[in-house]
Each structure stands twice: as structure tokens, then as C-alpha cells.
Symmetry: C2
Subunit: 504 residues, 2 copies
């Protein structure tokens, strides 16, 4: 059937048909349509949406998410045919029924995810089934290889190429903003792609965006890394492992993060950017994604195994994840905290320690520092100002202002201090509650929103002193964050009443 095409700017890939055209084709809502651009021969298989009046008879309305595959202009003609049921649905069904997927079956699923042949609902079902039924290491390797093959890849002529990754779940874990300039200032390459916030209060890409643009193609990432030694970009813009972006958007609403998918997602991105040496930070403890050191070691073993299968030397560091890294959560608050360290205005605390430990492992793995001396070598690169200069070079090459200082970043303007209810010591903080408060306050969409934790576990506090300050850009968001803070008690002080029963 030949229809006149109109394009609408909606990201989800859909073709909308008038009910009369759909009926003539024998197509119902959700069935797939094979679309061909008659001028170029480019084609795609896309789920159809049927409308009685919104789409005119004889017209096919393509969303821009669908048109990216065929490149039709409004008013052009388009050839459409009903498409057969994709076989990827049978393979997803096999996974639902507890089967093991072969490499070929995995290839079809990943390709149909990338080409948007599968709907969000179908991909979500695949993710749910893989999470519940699990995947063995062969299945994980197949998924990793097919995820790499789903998009652009980078090969560097110079070796080694370092990469780092932190398993999420710990608030304020902005160490990438320190690790990348340290590694790059040592003369190594580190083409770091990062994600935006999924369930956290801000991903590294959200943080870096406060300093410079983060959306680049794979070849731009390669060129910038070759020039500056490192970059910190948003992986979602690169077309590197694009299948992962679709899967992450499906994981987001239900906060699903299955082990096999997690392993594949991490290692595929390292393989796709041409990395051969990788340090992975595994925070453990209550409130993180990994309950304890035992589980952390299992995960580390799986990452090392998968790395070996993919030709990447992986070392993992199990770190303390029971409290935020540093004292700040939220885009500008975290960026300022990292910049202050690079500016040598703040040389102590968990953020600088952890960043130097992680960077130090990479320096040792690549022979840039003697074994046991990596963290000190990393610290020296901060102290001598090389890491700061390198960070400015990275900001500049990504198109940001290289003269930015920690003090330039603004917070608030709506601010609330959470006061200590009693004298005592801070016993614990609740990571999840802190993240949720920062999110409700507006992070990461609103750069000035977030919180500062004045008191961390082990520190003493006096009644009426501020334990926590919440920052928001909108007054109603501050109110909601305060309400959430009252309901969740993110900081526990030893002298505090935990509950009061029988009071009148």
C-alpha cells in the first residue's frame, strides 16, 4: 500500500494509520508494519497505532523515532506492508519459559531492540523474564557481544586504554570527575562514557553537563580522547551500545536491574570504546545494590570472568557504600565538591580518598605506578595541579568553559536546614532516603537542587545544629522534600527517640 507520509516529532518509534487503511491491510493496533522509503529503499519494521480520525485516510503518520530508520520527508510517499510477527518474540517467550538463549537468538532479540521492532512492553517483558529466571555466563557473554555489535565502536591505536565503572546505589559517588582527569594526566587514555540518573539523584553525565556539553558521536569521543587523553560524555548520545539505552529506559519504571543484564551492560560499554584495562568500584553495604562483601566478591568474580571472555583485564575494588561518598548529593553541589578537591581547596574526606584508590589501581595495572603506590601517585597528580589542568582541558575540548571554578556553581535558592533533635553521635544514614529527598527536591533535572550532609556516621552533633541542608529551585519541591525527610528520618542520632509509644 502506498500512502502519503507525515512526520511528527515524538521519540517513540510508531507509525499511525487511519483505521480504514489499517483494516484494508488487515492490521490491528500493535501489529508491525514494514515501511519502505521508495526513493532510497531504506526500510524498517515498526509497531502500528490505529486511529479513527487523527490520521487522514491515505496518510501514514510516522514519529521521528520511526523515521530515523527510513528518512522520509513530510509529503513524500511511503510504501507499507503488514510485517510478519518477529521471531524475537518467540525467543523472549523461550526466556519467559525458563529456556537458555543461544547466541543467534540473542542476536535477533538485541537487533530487534535496537531497530525498535520490539515495543517498550515487549522489551520490558524480556528484561523482567531475564531478571526472574537469570542468565548463565554463556548467555551473558552472548548478550555482551550482541550489545557491542548493536552500535558504533572505537579502536585506539595507542594502548593501554583505561576505563572505570562504579556499580550504582551509593549517593554522591562523583569519583569519575576526579578519576578521569587523574588517569588522563598520567598520560593514559580514558574515553569515559557515563549514564544519566536511572534510580539515583544524578548520573555522572548529569554532573558533567553542568560543566560542558556531553552529547557526542563515537568518532568525536575517539578524536577528543586522542587529543585530551580523556573525556566524560553521555553514553546515550554516542550510539555506543544503543540497545542498552532502550533496555535502561524499560528498567527504569520498575527499577529492575538483573545480574546478567548488569554485567553485559557494564562490560559491553568498555569493549565498545576499545578499553583493555578496567577498574570497577563495587560499593557494598546496607542501602546499596550489593548487600555485603561476600556478594561483592561474587559480582567481582563474574565481572573478571566476563572481562576475560571479552579480552579486557578487569580489577574490582570493593568499597564502603553505607553512606554517601563526600557530603553532597545533587548536580551543582556534587560538581562543586569535586572541583574544590581538584583546586586543592579540600584535601581530605571520603571522596578524595576513594577517587585516589580507584585511580591508583589503574595506574598500577598499567605500570604508571609501582604496586602499592597507586593511590599516592594519584594524590600527587591532584596536589601538583596536573589533574585540574587536565580537567580544564577536558571541559574545553567538550565545549565548556575551562575557567569554571567550584565557587561559580549555584545552589538553591530555596533552602531548609534539618536540625538535630538531640545531642549525640550520628549512628547511620539511609542512602535511599537521601537519594529520594534529593530527587524530590528536583535533582537531577534542576541543577541547583540537592542536599548537603553536614554530619556523617561517627560524627557528633548538638541538639538544634543542622545535620542536613536541602536545596531546591522551586518552593513546592522544597516543601515536598521536607515532608519526605520528616517521614523517612534519613539521619539517626544516638540520643534521638526512635519511637514514642502510648503518649497522650
Amino acid at each position: 500500500m502506498f500512502l502519503s507520509a507525515d512526520i511528527i516529532d515524538i521519540a517513540s518509534p510508531l507509525i499511525l494509520l487511519n483505521i480504514a487503511d489499517a483494516s484494508a491491510l488487515g492490521v490491528s493496533d500493535g501489529d508491525r508494519i514494514f515501511i519502505t522509503n521508495p526513493n532510497t529503499g531504506k526500510s524498517a519494521t515498526i509497531p502500528a497505532t490505529v486511529s479513527e480520525t487523527f490520521v487522514q485516510y491515505g496518510t501514514a503518520l510516522l514519529t521521528s523515532g520511526a523515521n530515523q530508520f527510513v528518512g522520509i520527508s513530510s509529503g513524500d510517499g511511503v510504501d507499507i506492508l503488514p510485517a510478519k510477527r518477529p521471531s524475537s518474540l518467540d525467543f523472549i517467550r523461550k526466556k519467559i519459559d525458563g529456556g537458555k538463549l543461544t547466541r543467534a537468538e540473542t542476536a535477533v532479540i538485541v537487533s530487534d531492540i535496537t531497530k525498535k521492532v520490539l515495543s517498550q512492553a515487549e522489551v520490558t517483558s524480556y528484561i523482567t523474564a531475564s531478571y526472574i529466571n537469570g542468565m548463565d555466563m554463556d548467555e551473558v557473554e552472548y548478550l555482551t557481544r550482541e550489545m557491542v555489535a548493536s552500535g558504533d565502536t572505537i579502536t585506539f591505536s595507542k594502548k593501554p586504554v583505561v576505563d572505570k565503572h562504579s556499580i550504582g546505589g551509593v549517593p554522591g559517588n562523583k569519583i569519575t570527575l576526579l578519576v578521569v582527569p587523574i588517569i588522563a594526566s598520567s598520560g593514559l587514555l580514558i574515553p569515559k562514557t557515563s549514564s544519566r540518573a536511572i534510580t539515583g539523584a544524578g548520573g555522572t553525565a548529569d554532573l558533567m553537563e553542568a560543566l560542558a556539553p556531553v552529547a557526542f558521536s563515537a568518532s568525536e569521543v575517539q578524536q577528543m580522547t586522542e587529543k585530551a587523553g580523556g573525556v566524560i560524555v553521555w553514553g546515550g548520545a554516542t550510539n555506543i551500545v544503543p540497545a542498552d539505552d532502550v533496555m535502561i529506559s524499560c528498567e527504569y519504571p520498575l527499577k529492575i536491574n538483573g545480574r546478567g543484564k548488569m554485567l553485559a551492560s557494564i562490560i559491553a560499554k568498555k569493549a565498545a570504546v576499545g578499553s583493555d584495562t578496567c577498574v570497577i568500584d563495587i560499593p557494598v553495604g546496607p542501602g546499596t545494590k550489593i548487600a555485603d562483601e561476600t556478594e561483592g566478591k561474587v559480582l567481582a568474580g563474574q565481572l573478571v570472568d566476563l572481562g576475560k571472555r571479552m579480552g579486557i583485564r578487569v580489577e574490582c575494588a570493593i568499597t564502603f557504600g553505607g553512606a554517601p561518598v563526600g557530603r553532597h548529593i545533587g548536580v551543582n553541589l556534587e560538581v562543586a565538591e569535586a572541583l574544590r578537591i581538584l583546586e586543592n581547596k579540600d584535601g581530605s574526606g571520603s571522596l578524595v580518598q576513594k577517587s585516589c584508590e580507584i585511580a591508583g589501581i589503574a595506574l598500577e595495572m598499567t605500570g604508571k605506578a609501582a604496586v602499592g603506590n597507586g593511590a599516592d601517585a594519584a594524590m600527587a597528580l591532584i596536589r601538583n595541579g596536573k589533574a585540574l589542568s587536565k580537567m580544564r582541558e577536558i571541559i574545553e575540548i567538550q565545549g565548556g568553559d575551562p575557567n569554571v571554578k567550584a565557587d561559580d556553581l549555584t545552589f538553591g535558592p530555596f533552602i531548609y536546614d534539618v536540625l538535630a533533635p538531640a545531642d549525640g553521635a550520628v549512628i547511620s544514614v539511609k542512602n535511599r532516603a537521601l537519594i529520594d529527598i534529593a530527587r524530590v527536591a528536583g535533582s537531577p533535572n534542576e541543577h541547583g537542587a540537592g542536599l548537603r550532609l553536614h554530619k556523617k556516621p561517627g560524627e557528633t552533633v548538638r541538639k538544634g545544629e543542622a545535620m542536613l541542608t536541602i536545596y531546591a529551585e522551586k518552593e513546592w519541591r522544597l516543601s515536598e522534600a521536607i515532608e519526605l525527610c520528616r517521614n523517612t528520618h534519613p539521619v539517626t542520632v544516638s540520643g534521638m527517640l526512635l519511637s514514642r509509644i502510648g503518649a497522650e
Copy 2:
């Protein structure tokens, strides 16, 4: 935020916002928006889609699927606010993680499904998780009760109220077109709601639509049943158990049909139409949904148990499902086959036998026939013409032509005979292949498409004689159906070579 509203005629419930408005609200793609009609106060929580250019700044574009909850006219103003993450997502997550859902948790999930607070992807994840992890009978009862509560219900003052249901999977199972007029002509009430095809070649609602309109409200179903004794309508139009329609649309692409959800879906519809007596046909055998009699008995026990919990007397009949019921698959072909029996032009074969057995059980359960005499009593109602008159009364009350005859229904015009490759006896037929051939030929969307099975298992055939005739309304569909038939060999003849190895 107050925006000007536009309405577009798309069934999926969405609100589309300009990226600038979304950003001012702090809302990303997929986050939920709380929409209020400022004139009436009606409100809804709907997932947002963000567009850079398709939606003008200051405008909210509501799909008709979203607007059904708030009733705004194009050009009116609409109040929007970011909504909190629905707690139903936490309960779905609990099910994903293997937890048991309470009645209260189930109520929130079913309500959010019905009100379209949850996206198709989120509902699909719930269905996938319930399928993989299973549900215990308490969870199934909670789901059943909440599904009933999700929509309109009917209460009849006259009792008993009969209902019937067939577990799907058997092609050509058009017995409802006979059972309903038989039961109604005996003086009982039978308000039958049916589905359209999910994975079959035609649901009962698709068949009935060849004779009369099938879309009615619950109160129309009640009034018509009180007048004519019975109806055969499309459940999807009634707002009876609307949550089920959403869930079925999510089950469709992956053909998921979990046991707990299947039980709830069947019994909820019986409870919602006020039925107290129900006969359930459970076809078993290769190619059906239920593998064998043992599994059929387990299912029967579960249906009887759930019926008891809901105050419905359930009896199940385990039937032979290894071959089609009757000889026809496809809308007009099946309807004509049923009408010929009512017209007393064809009194033998599996269709009339099975219909009378099933109707007979209901006649016995309600005292309309002595125990052991139900099937004969049912057959008598066909022989004396009462069932045909009743069917005409039902067709008329639903707005169809009561004078329709089997011979009025047309098939084709593109027709292909599949010839026997050798002399012999038909050993077996493949249900799934027959259904797929009928679907590819155009069924159920194209009423004249389908197939006639000339030879059923146990019947003899001569080489070159037609075993099967395929009918299609479009030539290209006939070609595809022929190709599928060649690849799937739906009929096995004893004299046929099954394979030929080593031939040159």
C-alpha cells in the same frame, strides 16, 4: 501549571507536552502527570510523552484514551502537575521479586491498570512476573475480586443465571453460537460476553459480529438478556472487567497466559454478569493449551475452587481438543456451520455433539433436564426449532437481521485446494498450523477468509483428493497461506512420505 488543551484521537492514554513545559515541571518522558479539568474537577494520572516541536509551548496534547477520564474539549484549559511515582510499581516489583500480593496491593495494581496510570510496559512486566512466579489461590481470589470491582456489574432478579466458557486453543470451537440459543430457549438466562481472537483465528465476538452488532453497555446486556433470555456480545465493549482488556492486550504479543491470571479472568467475567451457574469446557490434547486430562483435571479443580470462593457453582467438561471442532475455521465459515445445525441441515459431527453435551450440563445443573439426560434435552431444542427461533430473537435484539441463513454467508473469493499426496487415512492434524494458516489467510479481520478441513483424523483420503480448502479475500494473503501450508504440513496422511533422505 495551566495549559491550553488539544485532543488527538489515539486510544493509548498519553499526555504530550512541549519540552520547555515538561522541563519547567521537572518531568521526563514516561513520568506521570496529574491532569485536572478545571471546570468539572475530574482528574487522572497519565504517563507523559515529551516532544520538542510537535506540541506547542503552553499546550498539552491529550489522547482520547487519556481524555476519557477528564472530558476536556479542544481549546479548554487544563491544570497539570507532576504526579508521584505510583505505589502500584512497588507492588509489581514485589511480585517480580517472588513476593505474595495482599488484597490491598492487588486492588491498587488493578485500579492503576484500569485507570491507565500504568503504561503497557509496566502492565506487561506485572503479567510476565505473575506468569513466571505464579500466584497462590488467595492471590487469584484477590485478583478476581478486584477485576470484578474494576468495572460495571450486572445483577439479575431472576435466578439461575447460566454462563459458559471454553478454554481456548482449539480451532473452530464455535459452540457458543449453539449453546447460548439452546440454554436461552429452555427458559434460562445466559448473558454471554465473549472475546475477540487473541491467539486464535477468531473469537466468539468476531463470529457473532458477522450476524449482529456486538458492542453494548452492561445495562444494555442486562436489558437484552431479560427480554431475549440470552445475548452474545463482545466483553471488550461492556466496561465489564475492563482491567482484563488491558491485560489481554499486554498478553497478546508474547502469547503469555499465566494460570492465575487465566483463572481470574474467566471467573471474574462470570461473577460480573451475575452468573451463579457456569459450565466450563476444557479441551485437552496436543496443540491445545492443556496438555492432557491430568492437567485438565487440575485446572478444573482450580476453577471449581475459585468459583466456590466467588459464589458460583462451576462444572467443567474435559473435551477432546486434538482436532478442530467441526470442519471450519474463519468467521463466515464457522458462522455458516453453526447456522446449518440450527437450521437442521446438518445434524451430525463433533460440533453438534459437543454443543449439546456442554449445554446439557447446564440444563442438568439447573434442573431443566434430569441427570444424564441433558445432552438429549439440548438436542431436542435444536430439532424442534426452538434454538433457531431463539438465535433469531438474539440476533434481532442485538440489531442484526433475524432472517439471516447459513447460505447468505460468503467465503473467498480466492480459493486453494490442498490435495492429498497419497492414498491413506488422516492420522493427525496440527491445530496450531491450521490456526496460523487461517490467520495468514486473513481471519478474523476478513470475514470471508479461513479454511475448510475436508478430512479429519480417522477419515480416509485418495491421492489428489482435496484434504483442505483455503479461502481468502486478498490474493496475496492466499499466497502467504499456501506457502505456510507447504511449510507446516497441517494434515498427516498415513501413506505420505514423512521425509526422504539420501535422494539425489
